[in-house]
């Protein structure tokens, strides 16, 4: 018998691939630090999704190899990047003018906690100190959609899908969808609605690793990893 601990979850790369499938042609998307910053490496330009880096890039491409490095071209995390054809460079002020005026189709970021009332927390691990989270508060408050990409439980094994966040909020009431290594989650009346589930997992097993209420969508389906890899590979 396989225990939960041994049961395979989605690999980090697969969480990112699944997230990319939600992007629609023409979207302008900001990628946050950590896991989301690698999305541009996997998403083909053929998808016509434009990535924004808040230090002033509209049209961010993949990370640069050592030979491709230009010290004057980085993302907000100081990772060396490339641009895609048609990209533009803007200053830091225009970069956030774009954010506050609601032009981001989506922002993708990590989180310590997401709550069933759509609150989330990713600025501070100290319950008493409210950090700034860099640009996270700006993105979360003003983007058209807030996508959270994270592992389902913390490295200490604690649930991250909660009834209410216990860390300082980045923004209340804004999360649109959560992508974890166990599934894809939307929101209902103060609950998470699981739309897609990792292969081999049951909803009860996912509930056991979550604190907030989880309701199964009527059309709940298993994530087809083979199709996921093929869909991304076909981007060429």
């Amino acid at each position: 018998m396989t225990t939960e601990a041994e049961k395979p979850k989605l690999a980090r790369e697969e969480i990112l691939l699944r997230t990319i499938l939600d992007f629609q042609e023409g979207w302008l998307v900001n990628l946050g630090s950590g896991l989301p910053s690698y999305i541009a490496n996997y998403c083909s330009p053929e998808r016509n999704v434009v990535f924004h880096a808040e230090n002033g890039v509209v049209g961010m491409g993949r990370m640069a190899t050592r030979e491709e490095v230009n010290i004057n071209l980085t993302n907000a995390l100081a990772q060396h990047i490339l641009l895609v054809p048609g990209a533009s460079i803007i200053d830091h002020v225009d970069s956030f003018a774009l954010v506050r005026s609601g032009r981001l189709s989506a922002t993708v970021m990590g989180a310590y906690h997401v709550a069933s009332n759509r609150d989330f927390a990713n600025v501070s691990r100290d319950p008493n100190v409210g950090g700034s989270g860099g640009g996270a508060m700006d993105m979360a408050r003003n983007a058209q959609r807030v996508f959270i990409v994270m592992e389902h439980v913390s490295s200490e094994g604690q649930p991250k899908l909660l009834k209410r966040c216990t860390l300082p909020l980045t923004c209340p009431g804004v999360v649109t969808r959560v992508f974890t290594d166990l599934g894809v989650f939307d929101f209902g009346e103060d609950c998470f609605v699981i739309k897609e589930i990792a292969p081999g997992w049951t909803v009860d097993e996912v509930r056991a690793l979550s604190e907030g209420d989880i309701v199964a969508a009527p059309d709940l389906k298993e994530i087809d990893l083979k199709a996921l890899h093929e869909a991304i590979a076909s981007d060429g």
Partner: protein, 232 residues
């Protein structure tokens, strides 16, 4: 127009007194490593430093100033327990407002969080906003890609970041540049920061022949590296 060229980094920062408010540019890239190193050698203390890029306090930029207790107050997007953080978009807009002669503005960012506590809230068109105030400085230290001798600037790629905005928000702006051309040689239609916002420009000295890394100066601060190539 006035020639704004200064010969050395040390000369450029020599007038910065104890207690000055200094903006230090860059975010991810666009950091004025040579001017920071010169400010370190110069010895000014009790500084109020305004820097979006203070996320790596112990690494490459202002960490050396911080560790030696030369910074009295740090105003940054990155809080670390000692200093409160500011949302990045709010931080850059505060600098923009400072350079635009606007004392304060309302922003939706931060509503409903700990950072909103004690701030004036006001509704416009059914949405709630926070009042934030402008930031200005005595000096701004920034890099640029190319300058003319009048102080007109061009930036390369994401070297731009907050730098042209800081130039507007400071009384005196000191710029380290990779290339210097004669006044009048830059196309007026492609200037990212006009010389009217610039006080001094100083050319980054060439690195020793055969050098292929990022040198440390006497203070242990990495100076500007030319590692890497140009172009997309």
């Amino acid at each position: 127009m006035i020639n704004k060229v200064v010969q050395t980094m040390d000369e450029a920062v020599s007038g910065i007194p104890d207690g000055a408010t200094v903006m230090i540019g860059g975010f991810g890239s666009g950091i004025p490593y040579n001017l920071i190193a010169a400010l370190h050698r110069q010895g000014a203390k009790e500084l109020t430093v305004i820097a979006v890029n203070a996320t790596t306090m112990n690494r490459t930029d202002i960490g050396f100033l911080e560790r030696e207790g030369r910074i009295k107050t740090l105003i940054s997007q990155a809080g670390d327990g000692r200093y409160p953080g500011i949302p990045q978009g709010t931080m850059v807009e505060r600098i923009r407002a400072g350079g635009a002669g606007v004392p304060a503005f309302y922003t939706p960012t931060g509503v409903g969080t700990l950072l909103a506590e004690g701030k004036e809230h006001r509704d416009f068109n059914g949405r709630t906003y926070l009042l934030e105030t402008a930031l200005t400085a005595d000096y701004a230290l920034i890099p640029a890609w190319r300058a003319d001798t009048f102080g007109n600037l061009q930036f390369e790629y994401t070297q731009r970041t907050i730098n042209p905005t800081m130039a507007r928000a400071a009384n005196q702006t000191i710029v380290e540049v990779e290339e210097m051309v004669e006044g009048g040689e830059l196309d007026p239609s492609f200037i990212h920061c006009p010389g009217v916002f610039v006080s001094q420009v100083v050319k980054i000295p060439p690195e020793p022949e055969g050098f292929h890394g990022r040198p440390l100066n006497i203070a242990g601060v990495p100076t500007r590296s030319r590692l890497g190539t140009r172009g997309v």
